[in-house]
């Protein structure tokens, strides 16, 4: 009895079969072949379903290597990493195999608590390895991987295009003997947002046991594409003429209310051209937030409907003068900023810590009361800046952050050497 899901059944066995990221896989193949003790580890990164793990197994298959894998389903604290990955990386492979890859999969999944010290152990394994160590991650720029990155060569995996995905889906249909409308495959591919695995899963869910696949069968699939869903919700909400329509719009959202509120907040000013409308809409949102605060504090979830109505109907009905118009909705900029500035903020915090140590103050105060002045000094007087950098023991990265422009930071760094 076959019980292999299609994602596995049709998984590529050779590097050349990897869709879209063939080059990345080739690079991996080359690095593994050329690897010798002392070489760096290899970090594959990119969104889910772009073929990272599959590449490793394809490479191993082509080279007749064995793969020793640790992933997020394993406890990866210091002891376990050393015991499993560590010993695998130190020993010779089975005699039947020509080599071995140690795969540490999904390092995003390292748990702060349960996997304490795991990251340090992984670095140790890489440094002392006698076989290639390959890692995968969705987001390699996570600051906790900063030092890990120094011990790895990075290979990027890109999202697949819709056409890449359609092509694969069509070939699977052929093999399964299913006649599928092109439109359906396109829809599934679009919905998958460049994630091949999820597209194949959706295809199997829809087509398993069918001979023909038509567009009408798509209804039960939930949108994976959250943005598209939220765009529709926002459009419905902001165009609502009645309280009921507005609250209904909200009820169709597939994101939680915190996120929803951020989306609404972000896009209010694009619909409310009149400041009175703007103020009214925000007032409603602010009242909705007050209810959320009460809910959180008292765990009184029965108040949730009031918050929903205020953030939907309260906002929508504030628009009395401006005409409804088509708006290209933006992702909540606060969240975007928070994400994109994470590295900068971490650096800032490190700088703050150093100032704190020297100046007997708190990190927040260091950043607010000292940093602006230090920045001025660094920019306008590199010589003084260099002397201060020495006193504070700022490293080059931190100096570059403080000055914020490369000219003066280079100058300071030169003076320091």
């Amino acid at each position: 009895m076959s019980a292999i899901p299609w994602t596995e059944k049709y998984a590529p066995r050779r590097v050349s079969e990897i869709v879209r990221n063939t080059e990345a896989a080739m690079k991996l193949l080359r690095l593994v072949k050329e690897w010798k003790p002392g070489s760096k580890g290899i970090l594959l990164y990119g969104p889910p379903g772009t073929g990272k793990t599959v590449s490793v197994y394809a490479v191993a298959n082509e080279l007749n290597y064995e793969v020793i894998e640790m992933n997020a389903s394993d406890t990866r604290n210091v002891q376990n990493v050393m015991r499993i990955a560590g010993s695998a990386a130190m020993q010779a492979p089975l005699f039947a195999k020509r080599g071995r890859i140690v795969l540490i999969d999904e390092i995003d999944g390292l748990s702060g608590r349960e996997d304490r010290g795991g990251l340090g152990a992984i670095i140790k394994v890489i440094k002392n390895a006698r076989v290639p160590v390959v890692l995968t991650a969705n987001d390699p720029w996570d600051p906790r991987f900063a030092s890990l990155r120094q011990y790895c060569k990075l290979i990027e995996y890109k999202r697949l295009t819709m056409w890449d995905v359609v092509k694969v889906l069509r070939s699977i249909c052929q093999k399964e003997g299913i006649i599928a409308d092109n439109e359906v495959l396109k829809e599934i591919a679009k919905n998958a947002e460049g994630d091949l695995r999820s597209a194949i899963n959706d295809l199997q869910a829809l087509a398993e046991g069918r001979k023909r696949l038509t567009k009408g069968m798509l209804g039960i699939l939930a949108r994976r594409d959250r943005e598209k869903n939220i765009f529709e919700v926002l459009r419905m909400l902001f165009s609502a003429k009645t309280a009921r329509m507005a609250t209904f719009a909200l009820s169709t959202a597939d994101v939680d209310y915190e996120m929803l509120m951020r989306w609404i907040s972000e896009n209010i000013p694009y619909h409310m051209n009149d400041v009175e409308e703007l103020a009214k809409a925000y007032d409603a949102l602010s009242r909705a937030d007050v209810f959320l605060g009460r809910i959180k504090r008292e765990q009184n979830w029965k108040l949730l409907p009031y918050a929903f109505e205020l953030m939907s109907a309260g906002v929508a009905l504030a628009r009395t003068k401006s005409k409804f118009k088509f708006v290209k909705y933006s992702f909540p900029s606060l969240l975007r900023e928070l994400k994109s500035s994470k590295e900068q903020r971490d650096l800032q915090k490190k700088v703050g810590e150093k100032i704190k140590k020297r100046c007997h103050t708190s990190v927040t105060r260091a950043i607010n009361d000292f940093l602006p002045f230090i920045r001025t000094i660094f920019r306008s007087n590199p010589e003084m800046g260099a002397k201060m950098a020495r006193w504070f023991r700022f490293n080059e990265e931190e100096i570059a952050f403080i000055t914020g422009d490369s000219k003066s930071s280079k100058e300071i760094i030169k003076l320091l050497r």
Partner: protein, 326 residues
């Protein structure tokens, strides 16, 4: 008297018995036939039959081997990263028992699992594809991390339609020899608010009072006021007859044995049925929410409910004057 709960008695055992979510059911039936299917992610509001569906699917699939091959972890079980790394893995790595292709592991309220635990799940799902499939059940699929979503076929359960619930209620009434009137059905639908389980419970409770279940018995057993009466009270207030509205309020509280927060919630529901300008509806709902909150904080019921009606009366005056909302 030692009667069974009707919600259990009439819970569908097999996919054939499920009357809603037709498309999803038909997909699941296909899977039973081919015995081949991907990981599943069921998303949708409470009371839409997600758990019923996975149970029925597993029963149809496994037959007499159901117990051995089905593992259910629900919200009250510990589902931290430890359990995923131990118990789930232990269950998933051994072969299915009997003539079935794989085991099924259902994780209820998966959106409440920690991110860590979800992370631990992702490779487990892949590693044991030969022996097990996962079915994650949640309200919002967006709370499931992307790598897991990517590994599942996502099914969305839509809220039940009132007519579907009505149909079910009538069918059960027939089975139980209960005379369920049309206004009784409507009353149950009003109180149940789209939740099938609740609707059936109400039917059972009301039928305990006698063999006929009509709107009167329903409102009596559920401790709800008739929506018409609530609306009447609100309209009295809005038209400026504050004292009469208060009288009506006390009447409702006494007749139906309502608590302050019960009546506040019924008022809240009726606001949107009122024949007043839309923006006023929001405004009134907002104030109603404040009163609801105050009651939960321990303010006095009579004073707060009077304040609520007073607010409606003032709003009514402003509406008649055509004032803007201030």
């Amino acid at each position: 008297m030692s009667e069974m709960m009707w919600t259990e008695k009439y819970r569908p055992r097999t996919l054939d018995e499920i009357v809603n979510q037709e498309e999803i059911v038909s997909r699941l039936k296909h899977f039973v036939k081919t015995k081949d299917f991907p990981h599943l992610l069921f998303a949708g509001p409470p009371g839409t039959g997600k758990t019923t569906a996975i149970l029925a699917f597993a029963r149809d699939l496994f037959g007499k081997y159901f117990e051995e091959n089905f593992l259910e972890l629900n919200a009250s079980d510990e589902r931290g990263i430890d359990i995923i790394r131990t118990r789930v893995k232990d269950f998933a790595r051994t072969r299915a028992i009997g003539d079935v292709p794989v085991k099924i592991i259902a994780l209820d309220e998966a959106d409440n699992m920690t991110a860590d635990a979800q992370q631990a799940l992702r490779r487990t799902m892949e590693k044991y594809t030969r022996t097990a499939r996962f079915c994650l059940i949640c309200n919002y699929s967006s709370k499931i991390i992307e790598p897991i979503q990517s590994r599942c076929a996502v099914f969305r359960f839509s809220p039940l339609k009132d007519e579907d619930i009505a149909k079910r209620l009538k069918w059960i009434a027939e089975q139980e020899d209960v005379n369920l009137t049309e206004d009784g059905v409507q009353a149950i639908l009003y109180v149940a608010e789209g939740d099938m389980r609740r609707a059936i419970n109400i039917l059972q409770a009301a039928s305990a009072l006698g063999t006929t279940v009509n709107s009167e018995t329903v409102y009596k057993v559920t401790g709800r006021a008739r929506p018409e009466e609530v609306r009447e009270m609100i309209n009295l207030a809005l038209s400026g007859k504050f004292i009469e509205a208060r009288k009506k309020l006390y009447e409702l509280l006494i007749t139906y044995g309502l608590s302050g927060s019960d009546i506040v919630r019924q008022i809240h529901r009726e606001i949107y049925n009122l024949n007043i300008p839309e923006e006023w509806k929001v405004k009134l709902a907002e104030y109603t929410g404040d009163i609801d909150f105050r009651l939960s904080e321990g303010a006095h019921e009579d004073i707060q409910l009077s304040a609520l009606l007073a607010h409606f009366a003032l709003a009514g005056t402003q509406m008649r004057k055509g004032d803007k909302i201030g």
